[in-house]
Symmetry: C2
Subunit: 794 residues, 2 copies
C-alpha cells in the first residue's frame, strides 16, 4: 500500500470534466446539505490549480513511461476513485454530419451494414476459435514434451536413486518457461497480466482502460498464457481467452490496425465507441464459448457484464460469434486429435461425459449440495489480494514468477515422493503420464495424477475416476497445497486464469467430501452416496461460484461443459448459495480487483439510500462552456489547461444584444475539437469570407481512437484570432436533466443510455452543471449507509 503517496497524475488528461471557473459566471446554487468532497467538485479547483505545473511535468514522464509500456504504479485503495480513467462514448454523437450521413443512407445501405455486422461477428468467432486452438495445441505439445522428459528422468532415477536431480530438472524446466512468460508480460505489456476479465468488464461498463484492446496485448497474452500453463503454474488458460476474444473483436471490427499501420478501408462505419463495444462483447462471448465449449454461456457472460446495452439483434450476433468460435475450435481440434469431423467435444476444458444414469441425485442430497455451496471460499480472496500487492518492479516480478514456478515443482515433487497412495493401473485409466515411482508394477502413484498433469486433466480425473482412485489423505493434502500455490500464483505478473485452479481446488475438496460421506454412511444402502465424482463437480461449482460470483452464466457454462443438463438444478442451487453467502462477506474477485484499481465503475443501479441526493449536489459545477462560434485561441487555451482537462464542453448561445444568460444548444467533445483544430477548420472573420473547410465524418473516424494530444497541434498567433463554428459538429440534442432530479433517476438515465456527459440545466435551459461517470461512481453503499469515495488524481 506504500504507493498511495505517489499518486500524482499518471495521466491527468483524463479528468472528465466539471471543475473550472474561467468562462461562465454561473455558480453552484446548492443550498442543501452536501456530502463533503475532499478532492473533487467545485472546492478543489484551486487545489488542482496550484498543482498544475507539477501535473504537466508528471504527464511528460508518464507518457514516456507508457511508451515503455509501463504505467506508474496504481494506487491500491478501494476508498479512492481514480481520475486517470477516461470514459467511452456509448451514446452516439448525433451531430449534423452524423445525421446527414444517416439520412443519405438508403434502406439497402442499412441492410448491407447489418450484413457486414454479421460478417464481422463471424470473423471474430473464427479468429477467436483459431487462437484458442493454437493455445490448446501449443500447450498440449509443449507440456507433453516436458512431462515426457521429466517422467523418463524420474523413472531412470527411481531405480538408481538420486531423485533430487529429477527435482532440479523439473524445477529448472518450469522456472525457465515461466521466466519467458513473465518477461514478456512484465516488460512489454503489463496489462496482459492476469485473466483480463476485470479489464473487459470495465471496458463494457464504459471505462477506457489504456491499451487493453491492442494487438500487442493479444500477442503477449497468448504467448504468456502458453508459458504459464506449460511452466506448471497453478493457473488455467480459459480466463485469458475472454480477453483475447475481446482484442480480436476490437481489431477486426475496425478494419485496420493502428499498431501495424495498416488500414483496409473497410468497416469504417464501425469506428466509434458504440459499435466497437458491441463487437467487443461479441468477442468476449466468443472467448468464453471457445474456453468452455459453452456458446450460450458466452452470451450470458456478455449479458451479465454488459447488461445495460442489450438488444435482440445484438444478442443474436453475439450468439453467432460464440457458435462459430466453438465450432472452429472443435473442428480444428478434431483434426488435431485425428478424429476429423467429430464435433461432440467442444471447448478448451471439457468436463468429460457424466452419464446421468450412474450418477443421478436425490432429494435428500440437495441440502448437502447447498451446504457445499455455502463453503464458497472467502479466504482465497483475502490471501490473493495481499499477495498480489507486493512486487511491482518488472525485474522482481520476473524473479517472483520464477520462484513460484520452482516452488510449485518442488512442492509437487515432494508430495509425490512422500505419497504412498498406489493405485492399480486399470485398462481404462485416463492418465496420460502415469508415474510408477515406488509403486508395484502395474500400479501408479495417484498423487502424481493430480500434480503431474495439466490442470484440465486433473479436474477431469477428479470428476470421473472410479471411486477409490484417490485416498482421502492424498486429496486433503493436495487441496491444501494447491490452494496456497494458487493463491500465491494469482498475484504474479503472468497471463493466467483463475477458473481452472478454482475448479481443481473445488473438485478436490468436493471429492474428499464425497469420500468421507460414503465412508460415514457405508453401513446402510449406500449406492447413491458412493460416487464421489458428483461431489467433485458440485465442489468445483461451489468454489468457482464463490470466487467469480457469476450465477446465471456460470450455471450455463458448467452445464454446457458437463454436457449433461441433469446437474443443472444442483449446480444452480450451489451457485446461488455460494453467491449469497459470499456476497455477505466480500465482493466477487473481479469486483474487488476493479475497486482496488479505483476504477469509476457504474453498477446497474444507484445505491439504495441515495434518493435524498439530487443532480444539484452530484454535478460538477461551474462548467466550462463554449460559444457556438468561438475564438480559436480560447479553445486552444481551454484544451491546453492541464489543471482541468475536461473532455466534454456544453455549447451555449448568447442572444446578441441582450444580457440574458446563455442557453444550452449543444455538447462537443475534446476529441472533436482536436480534430477540428488539426484540420484548421477556422472562419477568418477579418477577411469577411468563409474559409471553413468542409470536414467529413471520415476525418473524425480516421483519427479514432487515438486522438493526438493538444500539445502536438500547432496553432499560430494569427490562427488564434480566427473563429470556429461548432454548429455542425456539436451534438445538438444532448440529454439534460433539471437540477432537482434525484440521483437514482440521473443514474438510470446515465447508465441505460451509456452516457458520458449529462448536462444539468435550470428551468430556463441554462447550463448549471455537468454530471460525469465519476460524479456518479463516487457514491457507494458502505457498511454504514451511503459513503462517498475520494477522488484521486492518479
Amino acid at each position: 500500500m506504500a504507493n498511495i503517496a505517489k499518486k500524482v497524475s499518471w495521466s491527468s488528461r483524463a479528468e472528465e470534466s466539471g471543475v473550472a471557473g474561467e468562462r461562465t459566471p454561473l455558480f453552484n446554487g446548492s443550498e442543501q446539505p452536501r456530502l463533503s468532497r475532499q478532492l473533487s467538485g467545485g472546492g478543489s479547483v484551486f487545489q488542482i490549480g496550484r498543482l498544475s505545473t507539477v501535473d504537466l511535468e508528471e504527464e511528460i514522464t508518464s507518457d514516456e513511461d507508457s511508451q515503455r509500456g509501463r504505467p506508474k504504479e496504481i494506487p491500491h485503495n478501494e476508498k479512492l476513485l481514480s481520475l486517470k480513467y477516461e470514459s467511452l462514448d456509448y451514446d452516439n454523437i448525433e451531430n449534423q454530419l452524423f445525421l446527414e450521413e444517416e439520412r443519405r443512407m438508403s434502406y439497402m445501405g442499412f441492410r448491407c451494414l447489418e450484413i457486414s455486422r454479421w460478417v464481422v461477428c463471424g470473423l471474430i468467432g473464427f479468429l477467436t476459435g483459431l487462437i484458442a486452438c493454437f493455445i490448446d495445441i501449443a500447450v498440449e505439445e509443449l507440456a507433453g514434451i516436458k512431462y515426457q522428459v521429466v517422467k523418463q528422468n524420474i523413472e531412470k532415477f527411481t531405480e538408481v536413486g538420486g531423485l533430487s536431480i529429477s527435482l532440479i530438472l523439473w524445477a529448472v524446466l518450469n522456472s525457465s518457461i515461466v521466466m519467458l512468460g513473465a518477461i514478456i508480460v512484465a516488460f512489454f505489456e503489463p496489462i496482459a497480466a492476469g485473466s483480463g476479465i476485470p479489464q473487459i468488464k470495465c471496458y463494457l461498463n464504459g471505462v477506457k482502460i489504456p491499451r487493453v484492446v491492442r494487438l500487442k496485448t493479444l500477442v503477449v497474452k497468448v504467448c504468456g498464457v502458453i508459458c504459464s500453463v506449460v511452466g506448471g503454474l497453478a493457473v488455467g488458460k480459459e480466463g485469458p481467452m475472454i480477453h483475447s476474444g475481446a482484442v480480436v473483436a476490437a481489431g477486426v471490427s475496425q478494419g485496420r490496425s493502428t499498431s501495424l499501420k495498416r488500414d483496409f478501408k473497410i468497416f469504417e462505419y464501425f469506428r466509434r465507441d458504440t459499435e466497437k463495444r458491441d463487437f467487443v462483447s461479441a468477442g468476449a462471448a466468443a472467448g468464453v464459448s471457445a474456453a468452455f465449449g459453452a456458446p450460450v454461456g458466452g452470451v450470458l457472460f456478455a449479458l451479465e457484464e454488459g447488461a445495460s446495452f442489450w438488444n435482440q439483434m445484438l444478442t443474436w450476433r453475439i450468439f453467432f460469434a460464440s457458435m462459430i468460435s466453438t465450432f472452429t475450435l472443435n473442428f480444428f481440434l478434431s483434426i488435431y486429435h485425428k478424429n476429423p469431423g467429430d464435433l461432440s467435444n467442444p471447448g478448451l476444458i471439457n468436463f468429460g461425459r457424466f452419464e446421468s444414469d450412474s450418477v443421478a441425485y436425490n432429494l435428500y442430497e440437495i441440502p448437502l449440495f447447498i451446504m457445499m455451496g455455502a463453503i464458497g471460499k472467502n479466504s482465497f480472496m483475502c490471501l490473493e489480494i495481499c499477495l498480489s500487492l507486493y512486487v511491482h518492479r518488472p525485474c522482481l516480478q520476473v524473479m517472483e514468477a520464477m520462484l513460484v514456478a520452482a516452488v510449485t515443482a518442488t512442492v509437487s515433487f515432494t508430495m509425490i515422493y512422500f505419497s504412498n497412495d498406489c493405485q492399480p493401473l486399470g485398462p481404462e485409466h485416463t492418465e496420460e503420464y502415469p508415474l510408477q515411482l515406488f509403486c508395484a508394477d502395474g500400479e501408479y502413484n495417484s498423487m502424481a495424477t493430480a500434480f503431474f498433469n495439466t490442470p484440465e486433466r486433473s479436474v477431469r480425473s477428479l470428476f470421473h475416476n472410479q471411486p477409490g482412485t484417490y485416498n482421502p489423505l492424498t486429496l486433503g493434502l493436495f487441496t491444501l497445497t494447491y490452494f496456497f500455490l494458487a493463491c500465491w500464483t494469482y498475484g504474479l505478473a503472468v497471463s493466467a486464469g483463475v477458473f481452472i485452479p478454482s475448479l481443481l481446488i473445488g473438485a478436490a475438496w468436493g471429492r474428499l467430501f464425497g469420500i468421507l460421506l460414503a465412508s460415514i454412511t457405508s453401513s446402510g444402502s449406500v449406492s447413491i452416496w458412493a460416487d464421489p465424482g458428483k461431489y467433485a463437480l458440485i465442489g468445483a461449482a461451489a468454489q468457482l461460484g464463490g470466487i467469480v460470483r457469476m450465477t446465471l452464466s456460470l450455471t450455463v457454462i458448467m452445464v454446457e461443459a458437463t454436457g449433461n443438463v441433469t446437474y443443472g438444478l444442483p449446480i444452480m442451487l450451489v451457485l446461488m448459495t455460494a453467491k449469497i453467502v459470499g456476497d455477505y462477506f466480500v465482493e466477487g474477485l473481479y469486483d474487488i480487483h476493479i475497486k482496488l484499481q479505483s476504477v469509476p465503475f457504474l453498477h446497474l443501479e444507484a445505491p439504495a439510500t441515495s434518493h435524498w441526493l439530487t443532480a444539484r449536489e452530484v454535478m460538477g459545477s461551474p462548467v466550462t462552456c463554449l460559444n457556438r462560434i468561438e475564438k480559436v485561441g480560447t479553445i486552444v487555451d481551454i484544451l491546453s489547461n492541464t489543471s482541468t482537462n475536461h473532455n466534454g464542453f456544453p455549447v451555449v448561445v448568447q442572444v446578441t444584444g441582450s444580457d440574458e444568460p446563455a442557453k444550452l444548444c449543444g455538447l462537443i467533445l475534446r476529441s472533436q475539437l482536436i480534430v477540428l483544430l488539426k484540420h484548421k477548420v477556422f472562419v477568418e472573420l477579418a477577411r469577411s469570407r468563409l474559409t471553413q473547410r468542409k470536414l467529413q465524418l471520415k476525418d473524425f473516424r480516421d483519427a479514432y481512437p487515438r486522438f493526438p494530444p493538444i500539445q502536438s497541434i500547432h496553432v499560430s498567433q494569427d490562427e488564434r484570432e480566427c473563429m470556429m463554428d461548432l454548429t455542425e459538429f456539436m451534438n445538438a440534442t444532448p440529454y439534460t436533466v433539471p437540477q432537482e432530479t434525484s440521483l437514482p433517476r440521473v443514474f438510470k438515465l446515465f447508465r441505460a443510455l451509456g452516457l458520458r456527459h449529462l448536462v444539468v440545466v435550470d428551468d430556463e435551459n441554462r447550463v448549471v452543471g455537468l454530471v460525469t461517470r465519476k460524479d456518479l461512481a463516487r457514491y457507494h453503499l458502505g457498511k454504514h449507509g451511503l459513503e462517498e469515495l475520494q477522488v484521486a488524481q492518479t
Copy 2:
C-alpha cells in the same frame, strides 16, 4: 377482415395524449415535410370531436360488454394502430410523496424490500410449479380414462365389426370435452384463448392488455387447457403455462386480489407498474421453466421478450423463480409417479434421454441440418391466420371447436383404420395404449401410436423409437394430416399452445427425412445415418424455430428439454437458419398476432431509415397542459372530455405578472388526478385557508391498478370553483427532449427507460409537444422503406 368497418371505440379512453387545443395556445411549428397522418395527430381533432357523443354512447356499451367479458371485435389489420390500448408506467413517478417515502426508508428498509422480492419470486415459482403439476396430473388422468374407454371399445368391436360405433364414441367424447373448454373461454374470458404468449409479450413491452393478468383469466386458462388437451385437439399445454405464470406473478406480488376483494396488506410497495412488471417477467420465466423443465431457458425467454429493462439483481430473482418452479413441479410429479425424490426429469414435456454415444453427429451432417432449418415452415402461418379470423360469436366459436374436435377424432380414426403398418410389440415399447386392431397378435398399429396418444408422448416416441418403428408412408400421411389439423385448431377459441403441435409436425417430417436419408445411403457404411430420432429432433427444432422465431431462448429450452448438450450446436444452427430464412418471408407467429391486433408494440430500435424524422414531426401537438395550481372545474372538464381522453398532462408554471409563455415544471397522470379528485384534495381559496387534505402514497396504491373512471366521481358546483395544488403529486423532473432530436434518439430514450410520456420542449423549456408510445410505434419499416401506420380509434 369484415370487421374493420366496425371499429368505433371499443374503449376510447385509451388515447394516450397529444391532440387537443383547448388551453395552451401553442402551435405545431413544424416546417419540415411530414408524413401524412390520416386519422392521427393534430389533423384529427375535429373529426374526433364530431364523433364525441357517439363515442360516449359506444363507451357505455363497451363497458357493459367488457363486464360480460366480451370485448368488441378487434380489427384484424396490420396497417392500423389501435388507440384502445393504454400504456403502462415503467418509469417510476418521482413526485414529492415518492421521494419522501424513499428518503424516510433506512438501509435496513431497503434490505427488507429486497428480501421480500426474493420471497415473492419464490412464491411465484412455487405456485406456478403447482399449477403446472395440477394441469399435468389432470391431463394424464383424464386422458388415461378416455383412451382406456376408447381402446376397450375398439378392441371389442375390432373382432365383431361395427367400428363405426367406436368412431362415434371417440368423436362424441372429444367434442363434449372440447365443448366444455370452448364454452368457458368464449363466454367467460375470451382473453384466455390461445397461448397468451403474445399478450405477455405486449405486457412486458409496456402495453396494457385489458384483463390479461386477472385471476379469472388464470382459472379459465387452466381449465381450458386441460379440456383442449384431453379433448384430443392438436394442441399443447406448454404455451399457456407462460401466461399462467405471469398471472400468478401479477397476483402474488400485489398482496391482494381485486377480484376476490381481499387485501392482505402486504407487499404494498410493489403496487405500481414498474415493480409488477419485474414480477410478471419472473412469472413468465417460471412458466417456461415449468413447461419445459428449462430454468435457464425461462430466464432467456424473459430476457428476449423484455430486454429493455434488464438488471442483474432482477435476472437472479427471475432465475430463482424459474428454479423453484421446475423444482416444485419435479418434486410433486416424482411423488405422483411413485418415485419420490427423483428430480432428474423436470418439465411438463420431456424429450427423453438422448444417449449421446449412440447418436453422435458428424461434420458432414451439418449442411443437412442447416437445410432442414431452412424448411422453417411459412405456409403454416398464412393458413392459421386466415383460419383464425372467421368466427367471432361465442356460440359459433364453441360449435367450431366441437367440430374440430370431432373431425380430429374422425381423421385420426380413419388414418388408423386404413393403415396397415404393423410393428412387433417389443419388450421395451414405450406406448402406453398400443392398439392391436387388425395386426397380428404381438404386434401393434404404429399409426395409432402417433394419433392415439397425448402429443407429448407422440413426440417422445418419434424421437426415441427404434429405427424401423414407423414406415415412411405412415409418417408422411401423419405429417400432412396433423399439419392441417393443427392449423385449423390454432384459430379456435380454446386455451392451447402451439409448441407441441409444431414439435410433433417437425419431429414427424424430420424422422421421415432421416428414414429417407438412411434408405438412400443404405448401400455404403451407414451407421451414422441410421438413427432417425436425431433427425426428428432437428426437424422439431426447425419447425418450432420457424414458427416462434426465438433463437437463444429456444436453443436453451430445446437443449434443456433434451437433457444433452451435444446437440446444442446443430440445434443452434438449425434455429438460426430457420429464423433467417423465416424472417426473409414473414414475421414470427407472435409478432404477426401482435400486429394483427394493432397493438402499439415498440421494437428494440427505431426503424433504420428514420433518422430524417425529428421529435417535432413525431410528437402530438398542441398539448393540453395544466397549471401548477389549477381550478378543479378545469381538471374535471379536461378529464371528462371524451374526444381527447389524455392520460398524461404536462404541468406548467406561469410567471405571475409577466406575459412570457409558461415553463414546464412537471408531469401528472390521469390516474393521479382521479385519485386527487376522489379524495377531494382541494384548496378553497375563497375562505383563504388551506384545507387540502394530506394524501399518502398509500391512497394511490390502494386505487392501483383499477382507477375509477372520471364519470364515477361527483364534483359539486362549489367544488368546481376550488383550486388544486399539484406540486406535491406531479413528477417534478420529467424527461424532456428538444424539438430537433432525431427519432432514433427519442426512441432510444423512450424504450430504454420504459417511458409513457416524453415531453418535447423548445430551448426556453416551454412545452411544444408530447411523444407517446403510439407516436413512435406508428413508424415501421415496410417493403418500400419507412411506412406510417394509420391510427384507429378502436
